[in-house]
Amino acid sequence: MSKIVATAAIRGANKIAKECEAFLNKAIKEKGKNQKVEFPETAFYLPMAYALLGAEVKTLGDMIPILEHVKGLLHEEPSEKLWLPYLGDALDSGVATLLAEEIIVALRYLYGQEPQPDCIGFFTDTILRTLGIQLVDGRMPGFAAILGAAKDNKTAVEIVREFQKRNILCFVGSSSNGKSIIDQLKEENVNMGWENYIVPYGRDTITGIYPLHWAIRGALTFGGHKKGEALKCLKYCKKRIFAFGLTLGPIDDVKYATGAGAINMGFPIIADTDIPEIRPTGICTYEHLVKQLDYKKIVSTCIEIRGVKVKVSEIPIPVAYSAAFEGERVRREQMYAQFGGKYSTAFEYVRTKGLNEVEDNKIEVIGPDIDSIPEGGAAPLGILVEVAGRKMQKDFEPILERQVHSFLNEAMGLFHMGQRNMCWMRVSKDAFKKGLRLRHFGVILHARLHDTFGAIVDKAQVTIYTKQEDVDKVMKEALKAYNERDERLAGMTDESVDTFYSCTLCQSFAPNHLCIVKPERLGLCGAYTWLDARASFELNPTGPNQPIKKGEVLDPERGEWKGVNDFVYMRSNKTLEKFHGYSIMTYPETSCGCFECIIAILPEANGFMIVNREYAGMTPCGMKFSTLAGSVGGGAQTPGFMGVGRLYIVSHKFIAADGGLKRLVWMPKELKEALGDKLKKRCQEEGMPDLIDKIADETVATTSEELLAHLKKVKHPVMEMAPVM
């Protein structure tokens, strides 16, 4: 830490601490020590204080000891001559700054001053969990916290576009010289928001705490670290969260102080101004503070300094290509042409062929291209992908095919929705003007199939049909294949196979957790079915999905197998003895943190409720999803509570040992609707077609009392079932 930087950081920390103290005193004076304070939708109170100090700050009074701790971390500025070592002091000041900034923004929430206009403000736990998965699967290689304003709007846009291209999430905010990058992007009509990977957090540096205490929650949620395990949490961030700060414009004391806080987390700072650098390494993985005055190089400097692993597959198409564009929509007025949806026939189909039947990189468009479609018009489209590979299996087809959606979507100006023969694609005017044609669809698919499935795909060729008769003809074959697949999946039961698959993908964050993926119980993240896990094992035999021979059946009701138990004991690092695959009450399967839904016992209702991640409201158990999530994750067995994937709800094995679907008393309306016909079908199979209506939702009950009244009124089956406990 150069002395100038350390001095500024120490000074900045003192300033922020003072500001924090004044604000807190004012708040206590006006509202009293018992005034509740909280951030929206989080189970982590003030996350930085929770992670570093183990503090559960619920009231203004609870903030006092945090502030005292902050004061204890403050230091004097290094003397002009004969100074004492300042690196440690500056790092302490950084932590002090983060804790103080967190208090300040929490107080602002109390006074309704946050979020700021056009800004997201506090990032909720839900965002953490959804984007956490993206961090894991590499779709999001890291994030940039940008502070200040670029020298002009054009540069601001260029910088965020460069990050977008590399799928790096950008948090934009703070200001320099009275201007914020948020407003620069706004003036240039840049779409901001989570789906665009450009997230405005606030116009001052203090709000820079949002991305940082969002990151530290990663250590708690995914790292399995406990509150107060400061060093572990900070090192987790350093090791696993590839974040960095980018300052645009002059750096003031508060920015230095906040930067020193970020450095504690292993996040380096890159500046576009001529500042003293700190190149020696040790707290971050690589350099700590680096300048890059050339805007053309600034993004690559950031990536290099943080060691972000970006897989830029240079796909030769005329438009930008990156996961950042996955969420981008092409609106009707921006659209040049479209395929499928309700406007024309369209399908996509991946099938396996012999190695000698496929010519790699052969891309053929049969029929007229986009040029011949009048602007705003629609045309039929059939995409036939034929792959061959020594390790390719028919079972992998749907896995590959499912990726067509994201592969195509990631091209800028190309919109894709749905799957199979229910797909819908749009090409924007911009993209068309830049030269995007149907042939490029093939180019993208070919490149991405190799990139993503290189282990099984040796060759791939793409044929694109645009004449109605061709589309109809090939689609017949596709429909036949779709049906076969459904039957195979539908007909598959846990009893029909002798091997399950493990999923230990999340052991990097929850070291003792593992999923047992069965045909009738998919992974709790919802992303891994038994077929997927099997395919994944084929793709990567030493990977996270390992076959488990079921072995001797120990308890068919509760779903206990000797082979599974042995595996669980070994791979949970000897912390778990057994799993009951079909029970939530005895030896339930564990959860990492990525679950789509949580099942929770409601003893007074003699049943269970289930809540999905997207539902932010209150539930009859008195806890919101975010709070529940805190008690379910981390790989511990907690009878009565369990994380599951959505589709498990409509499985025949859904908590079968505890009464199955009939025990379900409450679920959010949205979840009920999403499961739709599948849930109806299951209710019929249970012999109670009206069960679906007896299951309450938030429109009927959000408290235990309301729920009980409802259950009585509709005569829900739980009323007559044996006691759940």
Partner: protein, 646 residues
């Protein structure tokens, strides 16, 4: 010529004054002693039994065996081993006294001391296997003190602190049979084995010599350091001033000299006693000004920032300024000549340890039970002596320099990473990345056989210029402080670019003061922490580090040298140890040992050449670790290297 004797201008001034006043100093006596005994220098005279004295003819013409038949190898090895035993005894007896003081404090038998670093007390208690739950601090302190004493009398087993060494090192010591069992036991056995007619195998003798030295570094010295931290507080980075310019014309100047902080730490407190300050005023002095010499200075410097008056060769010179009202001494490195010199001035000399008396010198015996009273009594004598100053005989050199001290193995964690990320990682990274070539410990005494401070400073400058981080203790540290090497701003100018970057990043000088000579044990802990941090091998001998004592004189230096070598570190002594009379022993120390313990000796009086040897060694270790090349290799070094080898 005074200018030839020291490169320190303050010392040169005082020497000029001495000459003018016809005062004889250590340099004069050194000159008078020339030529010094060649047999002694080569280590080949033996007066262990009454059949002798015997001496071996180094030219091969006269006797090659003593009366008993002992050859040069045996005689040299025995003499050397006895030096190790004496040095280890000195440090260890110091450690024993600290343990006793801790016990007395814990028992409430003295109110001058109490546990100042409770965290460290608990940490050490844990290391000693003491159950601390539910016990109050004094109970724990009592048990720690007693457990430390056990280390001295222990007959079997292993020293507790030896377990701080990397696993591989411990295993090697066990394999070689040199893992120390008990401190006193190894020293006694060393004396036994070197008496007439016992151990005659020089390798076997040196083996036990290494074991004895380990009882010092990983035993007595380490106990002294750790328990002093508990009793007097663990040092933290601190500012202070050095050199004789710190003596005050208008204040009572009290010099503490020797090695133990037990009394001097209380003197620091007593010097602020209002009663004594009042008394000083009564005698016309503005206050009481403390200063230290040798390691007592370093002890109270590290914990209180008390100015350092000078190093070993400055003890007489301080008196010669005529401004020292009282010099209080404890143990070790105290020249008997002080008795005569102080008589030439008004300076009152007071011995305080029952172990160290000088004929015709006032003895005020120090006992912990009445430490504060004793301290006050001595200070009062100094104050009352203020009036006896001979105004025209006072000549205080103007030289003084600010510097930073207070670095320890523990503070390094926070200095490098703050409270939340406390770590050695930046240090390891600095070496791995090649910003630092490595690290060197430059330590030890000063000696009139080489220009005062010159070898220390020349060596240190050569090392830091080549991106070697230097840690220093004792008289070497005082030498470095005097020229600004311990000042982060001034020191940096002498450093290579890589080292400069590290100094700027952390805010440290390129040379770090780790304390007194028992605090060399801190260096062992630092090195063990570096190994533990990872990325630089799994034993101390893998590290690109080296040690040196360029101006050594004391037997303690020999003990230190051996425990550093036995810990796996290449070590250079300026003038040779008295071993050159045996080719076998010399080869064993300077060559064979490397294959056995990983460390070895070199004797090189030219400090630049010595520094180059250390650099070469670091380069060799870097290559073995497959580290990146040094980041900013100086072109000049490359060229010069060619010149040297040619």
């Amino acid at each position: 010529m005074p200018e030839n004797r020291s490169i320190d201008p303050a010392s040169v001034d005082a020497l000029k004054k001495a000459k003018a006043e016809n005062i004889e100093t250590v340099w004069d006596r050194y000159d008078a002693m020339q030529p010094q005994c060649g047999f002694g220098e080569l280590g080949i005279c033996c007066r262990i039994c009454n059949m002798g004295p015997c001496r071996i003819d180094p030219f091969g013409e006269g006797p090659q065996e003593g009366v008993c038949g002992a050859n040069a190898d045996t005689i040299v090895a025995r003499n050397l081993a006895r030096m190790i035993a004496a040095g280890a005894a000195a440090h260890s007896d110091h450690g024993r006294d600290v343990a006793n003081t801790l016990i007395l404090a814990a028992e409430g038998k003295t109110d001058a001391y109490k546990v100042k670093d409770i965290q460290k007390l608990r940490r050490i208690a844990e290391e000693y296997g003491i159950n601390t739950s539910g016990k109050d601090d004094s109970k724990i302190a009592l048990e720690v003190g007693k457990a430390a004493l056990v280390e001295f009398g222990q007959q079997e087993g292993e020293l507790k602190f030896a377990k701080r060494a990397p696993q591989k090192r411990q295993e090697l010591w066990r394999k070689l049979g040199i893992m120390p069992r008990g401190i006193d036991r190894e020293i006694v056995e060393m004396m036994h084995r070197t008496t007439m007619g016992v151990d005659n195998d020089y390798k076997n003798i040196i083996g036990q010599g290494m074991r004895t030295s380990l009882t010092d570094g990983w035993g007595g010295s380490m106990i002294a350091t750790e328990l002093q931290d508990i009793l007097f507080g663990s040092p933290k980075p601190i500012r202070a001033n050095v050199n004789m310019g710190n003596l005050r014309e208008d204040e009572v100047n009290i010099i503490v000299h020797g090695h133990e902080p037990t009394l001097s730490d209380v003197v620091v407190a007593a010097s602020r006693d209002p009663e004594l300050l009042e008394l000083a005023k009564k005698y016309g002095a503005k206050g009481i000004n403390l200063g230290g010499i040798c390691c007592t200075a370093s002890e109270i410097l590290m914990r209180h920032g008390i100015p350092v008056t000078g190093n070993f060769l400055q003890q007489e010179l301080a008196v010669i300024t005529g401004a020292v009202d009282l010099m209080m001494v404890d143990v070790q490195c105290i020249m008997p000549s002080l008795s005569n010199i102080t008589k030439c001035y008004h300076t009152k000399l007071v011995t305080t340890s029952p172990k160290c008396k000088i004929p015709n010198v006032t003895h005020v015996e120090f006992h912990e039970e009445k430490a504060y009273e004793t301290a006050k009594e001595i200070l009062r004598m100094g104050i009352e002596n203020f009036k006896n100053r001979k105004k025209n005989a006072i000549q205080i050199p103007s030289n003084t320099k600010g510097f930073i001290a207070g670095f320890t193995a523990e503070t390094a964690f926070n200095i490098l990473g703050g409270r939340y990320r406390s770590t050695y990682r930046p240090l390891n990274d600095a070496i791995i990345s090649g910003r630092l070539r490595g690290a060197a410990g430059v330590v030890g005494c000063c000696n009139p056989n080489i220009k005062h401070d010159w070898a220390h400073l020349t060596m240190i400058k050569e090392l830091i210029k080549n991106d070697v981080l230097v840690v220093t203790t004792g008289c070497s540290a005082i030498a470095a402080a005097k020229v600004g090497l311990l000042d982060p701003e001034e020191g940096k100018r002498f450093a290579g670019r890589g080292l400069q970057e590290i100094c700027e990043a952390v805010g440290i000088p390129p040379v770090l003061h780790l304390g007194s000579c028992v605090d060399n044990s801190r260096i062992l802990i630092v090195l063990s922490n570096v190994v533990k941090e990872g990325g630089l091998g799994d034993d101390l001998s893998d590290l690109p580090v080296a040690g040196a004592a360029p101006e050594w004189m004391s037997e303690k230096a020999v003990a230190i040298g051996f425990y550093v070598v036995a810990s796996g570190v290449f070590t250079i002594f300026g003038t040779p140890q008295p071993v050159l009379g045996s080719k076998n022993v010399t080869r064993y120390l300077c060559d064979d040992l490397e294959k056995i313990v990983g460390g070895k000796y070199a004797f090189e009086a030219d400090p630049v050449k010595a520094a180059r040897l250390m650099i070469e060694h670091m380069n060799k270790k870097r290559a073995a670790l497959k580290l990146a090349p040094v980041m900013y290799e100086e072109g000049s070094l490359k060229k010069e290297k060619v010149a040297i080898s040619a």
